[in-house]
């Protein structure tokens, strides 16, 4: 579904954020991307939909190669990639409904979107999604009136209404409390399952990642250090990704969490 070939990103400052990353994500697979700050997790996600331009290498989404696309063609391909952001990135002064419908901007013309006259099918789908995440009654509230967890759920609706094939998720739980974090992760994973979406979830919380995903990629200094099932994250592996630290507590906590969750 998604295939990265020798993806390199070098910033103008000379920092090598990504060093020839190769990666294949099959359809329907939810994958977590872990690694210390500055390992290139955000850069990797943004290089896929070219919010950050990769320096070299290729990104294949299905049959289409993205890095060589013109801006018009890139826009059409971006519709197939929903993105969920750290700190939600909702447009705060727009309503919940406008935020969700902004996911359809790639499909409707300028005047339609300017006059907020979206096709009925889009509006219906927006209500369906909002209802799915339990926020249908909030549709006309302004985005900045919502709590953190609610905002992230609106962010999820905005990504899903694009009808994407792939979700790019950048630190979805970074500013949420532990309980809300789990609810959001659970919701993302459930929705991916319902719609057979592939997802790359960039996440700091190793324990949380282990609880929900099928595959973990460990990134260190812009290179893939670990690729495997979440059970494979032993203290040695974590040391190789993050550096020396006592990892037993992290891993043990996961076991406790899983018991508690059930």
């Amino acid at each position: 579904m998604l295939r990265l070939e020798k993806l390199v990103k070098t910033y103008k400052t000379g920092d090598m954020a990504l060093k020839a990353v190769d990666l294949v994500v099959p359809q329907g697979q939810v994958m977590a991307l872990i690694g210390p700050s500055g390992a290139g997790k955000s850069t990797l996600i943004r290089c896929i939909n070219r919010l950050v331009e990769p320096t070299s290498g290729q990104v294949h989404l299905g049959e289409v190669e993205l890095t060589g696309l013109s801006s018009g063609a890139l826009r059409r391909e971006r519709r197939r990639m929903g993105m969920i952001f750290q700190e939600y990135a909702l447009v705060e002064r727009l309503s919940v409904m406008e935020n969700v419908l902004s996911g359809r901007l790639g499909y409707v013309g300028f005047w339609r979107s300017f006059l907020r006259r979206f096709p009925q099918s889009d509006v219906d789908e927006a209500f369906r999604l909002l209802d799915r995440v339990g926020l249908a009654h909030m549709a006309d509230k302004r985005a900045d009136e919502l709590s953190g967890g609610q905002r992230q759920r609106v962010g999820i609706c905005r990504a899903l209404i694009q009808n994407p094939a792939l979700l790019l998720v950048d630190e979805p739980t970074a500013s949420l409390d532990p309980k809300t974090s789990r609810q959001i992760m659970r919701l993302i994973c459930e929705l991916c399952k319902e719609r057979e979406l592939a997802a790359i979830i960039n996440i700091h919380d190793v324990a949380l990642a282990q609880m929900f995903v099928q595959r973990v990629i460990g990134l260190r200094l812009g290179a893939v250090e670990f690729d495997g099932a979440p059970e494979g994250l032993t203290p040695d592996v974590l040391t190789s990704i993050y550096g020396e630290e006592d990892w037993e507590a992290t891993i043990e906590k996961v076991d406790d969490d899983e018991v508690a969750a059930e």
Binding site: R76, F85, F110, F114
Partner: protein, 269 residues
């Protein structure tokens, strides 16, 4: 540990902004020397001031008996002209400013467009209103047309610059999220940028309306129409009571605009 022992018991002071002691004192001394020298060049003719006080007194006293009646046709005519000039110039100026502001924001526009728009702003800001008005009066003749064009031109420099700065300091991630959905550029501006800068745009527009009205009173002095022309005539004829009436009306209108802009800004937050 020994490093800490040296620090304990020592006074702490904020490091000075200028590290070199001699440079710091040179700048301070230089500043005061300049100040004293500058004051010594001011030449006051105290006898003239004493004479002038009498005229000043008359002027101030005129405010106790403003004369709205004897020149009322001129006053209302001039006032009407000023208001028309202000509103028309604000609408035209703001309409032109918005695209220029978008072009002058580095995070929205490509470099060539940015440089062109910044140049337009620089030219508009470099030319003072009075100078532009004198030039335009020479071209279009006496009357409000020159004033209208002057104010529109000045509005562009003011509003575009401040709006562009607001666009440049917007939250990048909110706009990025709209871009990631595959929106076109126009949709991106409409959904990602416009909501973020709208309160500032409205606030600045109201403020500029206020400035344009006050400027329209000045522009009359150089023949560009409006209430300023009436005011100038009143001064020339030593009709301080009529001048006082005009000034009072200007003050009332400016205060009303100030109040209105406060109400509107509270609404759009």
């Amino acid at each position: 540990m020994s490093e800490l022992n040296i620090l304990i018991g020592k006074k702490w002071k904020k490091p000075p902004f200028i590290q070199r002691v001699w440079l710091r004192w040179l700048l301070i001394m230089g500043f005061f020397a300049y100040l004293i020298a500058a004051y010594m060049t001011i030449d006051v003719n105290w006898a003239r001031v004493y004479e002038g006080l009498e005229r000043g007194k008359q002027f101030v006293l005129a405010f106790t008996s403003p004369d709205f009646a004897s020149r009322s046709t001129d006053i209302w005519g001039g006032m009407f002209e000023s208001i028309v000039m202000t509103v028309a110039a604000s609408v035209v100026g703001i309409t032109i400013s918005i695209p220029i502001a978008l072009g002058a924001a580095r995070n929205v526009a490509p470099l060539p467009v940015y440089l062109i728009c910044r140049s337009i702003i620089a030219i508009s800001r470099a030319l003072q209103e009075i100078i532009v008005a004198i030039l335009l009066v020479a071209i279009f003749g006496f009357g409000p047309l020159a004033g209208f064009i002057t104010l529109s031109f000045a509005t562009i420099g003011f509003l575009s610059k401040l709006l562009a700065e607001d666009i440049e300091s917007m939250d990048r991630v909110q706009a990025e999220a709209i871009k990631a959905s595959g929106a076109r550029w126009t949709q991106w501006i409409n959904y990602g940028v416009q909501p973020q800068v709208m309160p500032r745009l409205i606030g600045l527009s109201m403020y500029r309306l206020d400035i344009n009205f006050r400027e329209s009173a000045i522009l009359g002095l150089v023949g560009a129409g409006g209430i300023g022309a009436t005011l100038n005539t009143a001064f020339d004829r030593y009709e301080y009571d009529t001048a006082a009436a005009i000034l009072l009306i200007i003050i009332v209108i400016v205060m009303a605009l100030e109040y209105l802009s406060g109400v509107i800004r509270a609404r759009v937050q």
